[in-house]
């Protein structure tokens, strides 16, 4: 044992720890043993002295007595320096490593005291199968190899890199059996890898453990399109590579993979047709990784199923991925013949499943089957409940013309009371609006906002936040629109309203009596069913008066054409706008639903606009029913009351637990296993689709991106290089490599020895027998001990 004094006090260093200070302890031992060489030479020289009979002995004795102390001192000093030269040469070649100093004293990069962080990527791409094994299996095998190299005092931490990043064991442990079991128990997940987050976890653990001597092994395939390559590096991770040793697996070159990148339904809520087929439409986007030089055709199958597994509709089609194209979308519209019981109740849901059909000829072209399927949930409603907030008073002075509420009823429920249709309208007085009354409705169409009380506005706002649709029409009144300000405050709208209804002055030369809406405006996404003849239908819509409105770009649905019309401001006068409010939405029409102000009610656009606005907005605010694996987002309020969700078809799979905290609803744990989960709300079944995070399905490694990222961290090296260099946990790079320092000291000592040897021998015209001189002489075959001719003479 060695005792070393440091700032922190005395450190006891065992022989094993001392051996751990060097990459090649044997060389260090040889160097230490080599110290005896100069001493042995010194002692042997006593026996190898040749006798020299000498006449002038009296002078020699006198000179010796004068110089005896100096000679002895010089001899000892030279011997010491030569011993140090041999010792340092051995130590330098042995690769000494010192990780640094801490308040507890010196910390050695030896065989003990290291903390090894094994960051294992268990994300989606780790399921890539190559040469009969998955990448995750390779990572686990490499992790076991690293664990096998651990020294007696080493501890290890296993970090799973897929979202959510987690530490497998609670704290660093040296129990290799437990570590092996932990590594072996890692199953692949379907989420994306989070390298930055994993490194932050490692950094936090290092700080908590005060791990001065840490070793981070990154075992991942580092997909090239990983989002973490674009993430800014947190400040705490800067120079992490300088504080620890980072070793990383080398990203693979590339492997072909085709995936169903996304499955999107046009509407998540579909109003079932009472007669005929109900159409479930959507779009599947396919993406391929690896080589894109050649065109590739894959078979895509889309099915609509009941939760019990009954296939109600299916289609299969070939999708061609063209040469040079990575993505290709495939639209589908599946007519579904609903069984009778499917329309009972309000909570019926169907599963839409899009999957690539495996083909034997695709062997090797799709090495990651885990992302070949995506699911979605579509909610079926037999009828939408719409509240018509109006007092149903006549405000149109022109006899025979319909009132706004009549236009709405004519558009949504033309068959009259008692008839079955997609919408069931109920009139509600503006003054009677309250939360209990409106709770059972899906949408509220407000035709008399001027009569709403403040409480009524609050109720509507709350209704919208909980997922309802509030559609407000400007009343056909010339009074000052104070209600607009109230609505703006209540819904926190960033919109600018005018002070009153404004008549639009039309250029006389244009010989028009009304202003047109801008038909070039693209339809909003919720009205995509109208996109085919949107421009044509929109071109017939004109206005005479209008409540000036200006909104953000993303809120505009329909704007007024300013050419030829005297619209002073704003630049883009908005006629129809929509804004999300909580889980629901607010739609606002700046023109009254009155033929005195606009021709909309009598145009072909009116009915489809009313229907698709309600179906589309409500279809997109039908409640969050699709998640990505690894995500843990807040859920729609409609999920309140769902205790747990079971994975359909796999009873052993982990349940999804829903927790409610006040107004917030969320999953207790992120969903890991993709598929469709089933729960119940108020006795009604509720489905949630969980899909793989296909961003993580890139099977091509991003070597360049990885190296850029690691360079930002500081020092790092590849796993393969270290394995070839003698082991992943080879000690040379665990701490500060003292080799160069020792070599410089060694050089200094050699120069010192040369100087001392010359100085002590008082050489003037003699070749000095230094270490270098003797070595060179030996190489040249010269006998440096041979006497040099001397010039005799008279003193």
């Amino acid at each position: 044992m060695l005792d070393i004094l440091s700032q922190g006090g005395r450190i006891t260093l065992t022989l094993a720890q001392a051996a751990g200070l060097f990459t090649a302890p044997v060389l260090a031992a040889i160097g230490a043993a080599g110290v005896s060489i100069p001493i042995i030479i010194h002692l042997m020289s006593r026996f190898r002295r040749k006798p020299e009979a000498w006449g002038a002995m009296r002078f020699l004795i006198e000179a010796y007595q004068k110089q005896r102390k100096r000679l002895q001192l010089e001899k000892l000093l030279l011997l010491l320096v030569r011993c140090m030269v041999v010792l340092l040469a051995g130590l330098a070649l042995a690769g000494p490593v010192l990780s640094g100093c801490s308040k507890d004293g010196l910390s050695f990069a030896g065989s003990g005291g290291r903390v090894i962080y094994l960051v294992i990527d268990d994300a989606l791409s780790s399921q890539t199968r190559e040469a009969g094994t998955t990448r995750l299996d390779q990572h686990k095998q490499e992790a076991i190899g690293v664990l096998d190299e651990m020294g007696p005092g080493d501890r290890a931490v296993i970090v799973r890199m897929a979202r959510p990043v987690m530490q497998v064991l609670d704290e660093p442990t040296s129990d290799t059996a437990a570590l092996r079991n932990a590594v072996g128990s890692i199953e692949p997940r379907f989420s994306r890898g989070e390298l930055i987050e994993a490194l932050s976890l490692v950094q936090a653990s290092m700080k908590a453990e005060s791990a001065e001597d840490a070793f981070v092994v990154l075992l991942s395939d580092f997909p090239a399109t990983s989002a973490y390559f674009d993430q800014p590096l947190p400040p705490e991770l800067e120079e992490l590579g300088e504080r620890t040793t980072i070793v990383t697996a080398q990203p693979p070159q590339g492997t072909d993979n085709v995936q169903v990148m996304s499955l999107g339904l046009r509407r998540q809520m579909v109003v079932a047709q009472s007669t005929g087929a109900t159409v479930v439409g959507g779009q599947a986007v396919l993406r391929r990784y690896g080589s894109i030089d050649q065109p590739r055709e894959v078979q895509l199958q889309v099915q609509v199923q009941t939760p019990a597994g009954q296939v109600l509709a299916e289609t299969a089609r070939a999708v061609l991925l063209r040469s040079g194209a990575r993505e290709q979308s495939a639209n589908f519209d599946l007519p579904v013949q609903l069984p009778g019981d499917a329309l009972v109740g309000r909570g019926r849901e169907l599963i839409v499943r899009a999957a690539l059909v495996a083909d034997a000829t695709d062997a090797g072209l799709d090495v990651l089957p885990a992302d070949d399927q995506a699911v979605a949930v579509v909610r079926l409603r037999d009828r939408l409940q719409v509240a018509l907030i109006d007092n149903e008073q006549d405000i149109n002075p022109n006899a025979g013309e319909l009132e706004p509420w009549q236009w709405v009823r004519a558009a949504l429920s033309p068959r009259g009371p008692g008839a079955t249709g997609s919408f069931e309208l109920s009139t509600m007085l503006p003054t009677a609006v309250n939360s209990e009354a409106i709770e059972s409705f899906d949408a509220a169409i407000v035709l008399r906002p001027d009569e709403l009380t403040l409480r009524g506005w609050e109720t509507l706002h709350d209704f919208a936040k909980r997922g309802g649709l509030v559609w407000v029409f400007t009343p056909a009144l010339d009074t000052e629109p104070d209600w607009a300000q109230t609505m703006q405050r209540q819904f926190d709208l960033p919109w600018v309203f005018g002070d009153a209804l404004v008549r639009i002055e039309v250029d006389a030369e244009a010989a028009k009596r009304s202003a047109d809406v801008d038909e070039t405006t693209a339809p909003p996404e919720v009205l995509q069913f109208l996109a085919a003849d949107w421009r044509e239908k929109l071109g017939w819509w004109s206005l005479r008066s209008w409540l000036p409105l200006s909104t953000d770009d993303e809120d505009r649905w329909v704007v007024l054409k300013t050419d030829g019309a005297s619209v002073p401001e704003p630049d883009k006068p908005v006629v129809l706008a929509q804004r999300g409010v909580g889980d629901g939405s607010l739609v606002f029409s700046a023109v009254p639903l009155d033929t005195r102000y606009t021709n909309l009610p009598i145009r072909a656009l009116f009915v489809p606009l009313m229907h698709d606005t309600l179906r589309g907005v409500l279809g997109n605010t039908a409640g969050q029913a699709s998640l990505l694996a690894g995500d843990r987002p807040g859920l729609n309020r409609s999920w309140r009351g769902v205790g747990e969700l079971d994975l359909l078809g796999d009873e052993q799979a982990a349940k999804l637990l829903v927790q409610s905290d006040g107004q917030d609803v969320s999953l207790r744990q992120p969903a890991e296993q993709p598929g469709v989960y089933l729960g119940t709300v108020g006795g009604s079944p509720r489905l949630m689709a969980v899909n793989p995070d296909t961003v993580a399905g890139d099977t091509v490694g991003g070597q360049g991106e990885l190296e850029l990222l690691l360079d930002e961290l500081g020092g790092w090296s590849y796993l393969s290089e270290r394995q070839q260099a003698g082991g992943v946990l080879a000690k040379t790079s665990l701490g500060r490599d003292l080799t160069m320092l020792l070599l410089w000291v060694l050089l200094g000592l050699i120069l010192l020895e040369t100087f001392l040897a010359r100085w002590f021998s008082h050489a003037t015209d003699h070749e000095t027998p230094t270490v270098i001189g003797r070595a060179l002489g030996a190489l040249r075959g010269n006998d440096t001990t041979k006497q040099v001719p001397e010039t005799g003479g008279v003193v």
Binding site: S45, R46, R48, R49, K50, P51, E52, A53, W54, G55, A56, M57, R58, F59, L60, I61, E62, A63, Y64, K66, Q67, L71, E74, K75, F760, S761, H762, A763, H766, T768, P769, T784, T785, K786, Q787, V788, P789, E790, T791, G792, G793, V794, V795
Partner: protein, 350 residues
């Protein structure tokens, strides 16, 4: 003689001398080489007896040109004279164990005379670098070559010559004599001092200690036999305390003798060129000292330099000439010094 100066001076080179086994032959080579190579004739002065003619060489004093010969033959000849002197020369040579050192080989207990034998010493084998003495060429070899040369030179000029061999004490000595046969006595004394001898003799091993250099105690014994002023030539490595050396030289000077100190050192002792860690063992029983020579070299050289500086200062203090000679150098300078010293003494009328 028409031999070039360079070829004659090579007789003074230790490399050449080392190949000559006989002391007598070695002495003749030295003297002939010295006399032939000297630019200025040593035979000059007022009390002269004609000896011979010699061909003029540049540098000779034109005063001694024989004008008659030049007029007749149109060639330049010098007239040389034999001068009668009564100079006494006492040569004191150090035979302490430190004088037994050579960097030419790494051992000193070689069979005596082996390296003196020309046949056993391959050409150039002992000189693997410049400034290194010939193989086996010890300091005492260098000193003995000097001794015999000095004796030969002096006896040729009828000077009286004596020899003293010392270490920590006087080991052997000869009387002063100008008899030409005395040269044999001197060589015999050197041989019997177990330092230089015939090839069959064995040199004493390094651990048969001859003793340490002790100049102070030695002078009292040797100078006692000098009845009149003499020229005393001390040949030693002077590995003694400077105080001892000073005390000895002071006594010598107080007695009125003139002196020439020739300090003989091995080049390795002057430059300390060792590189390997070695165990140095003192030749004079100082013990063992394991050392990294690199580390101690500068300090050692400082000590040696300081010692030699003090020796030179001491000699200067007593107006004694001091010559530092390493064993890789030829013998010309000390002999020239000797001749100049002798001439100066004669001119002073001593």
């Amino acid at each position: 003689m028409a031999t070039s100066t360079a070829s004659f001076t090579s007789y003074l080179d230790p490399e050449t001398l080392a190949r000559v086994g006989s002391l007598e032959l070695r002495a003749r080579m030295i003297v002939d080489g010295l006399m032939t190579g000297m630019h200025r004739s040593p035979m000059q002065g007022f009390s002269v007896e004609f000896a011979q003619h010699r061909q003029y060489v540049p540098g000779d004093d034109p005063r001694f040109l024989d004008w008659k010969v030049m007029a007749k033959t149109d060639k330049l000849y010098l007239k040389q004279y034999v001068r009668e002197t009564n100079l006494d020369l006492m040569v004191l040579v150090d035979v302490s164990n430190s004088m037994d050192y050579t960097s030419g080989t790494r051992f000193t207990n070689r069979p005596k005379g082996e390296l003196m034998n020309q046949g056993n010493a391959p050409s150039g084998a002992g000189r693997d670098f410049k400034g290194k003495p010939p193989a086996g060429w010890r300091k005492i070899d260098h000193a003995c070559a000097l001794v015999v040369a000095l004796a030969q030179l002096s006896l040729n000029q009828a000077d009286r010559v004596g020899l003293g061999v010392f270490a920590d004490e006087v080991k052997r000595s000869t009387r002063l004599s100008n008899n030409t046969s005395h040269w044999r006595d001197i060589t015999t004394a050197l041989v019997e001092s177990q330092l230089v001898g015939e090839p069959s003799d064995q040199k004493a091993s390094a651990d048969t200690i001859q003793g340490r250099t002790n100049l102070g105690g030695m002078f009292d014994q040797l100078l006692a036999q000098l009845k009149r002023k003499a020229l005393v030539v001390v040949i030693s490595d002077l590995f003694d305390d400077v105080a001892n050396i000073e005390r000895g030289l002071a006594r010598l000077r107080y007695r009125g003798h003139d002196a020439l100190v020739i300090q003989v050192m091995d080049p390795a002792e002057l430059s300390f060129p060792f590189r390997d860690v070695s165990e140095f063992r003192g030749l004079e029983g100082e013990g063992k000292l394991p050392l990294d020579p690199h580390a101690i070299r500068r300090a050692y050289l400082e000590v040696v330099e300081e010692h030699n500086r003090q020796v030179a200062r001491t000699c200067q203090k007593f107006q004694i000439d001091h010559v530092l000679l390493d064993t890789s150098e030829h013998l010309g300078p000390p002999l020239s010094h000797f001749l100049a010293k002798r001439t100066a003494m004669i001119n002073r009328g001593s």
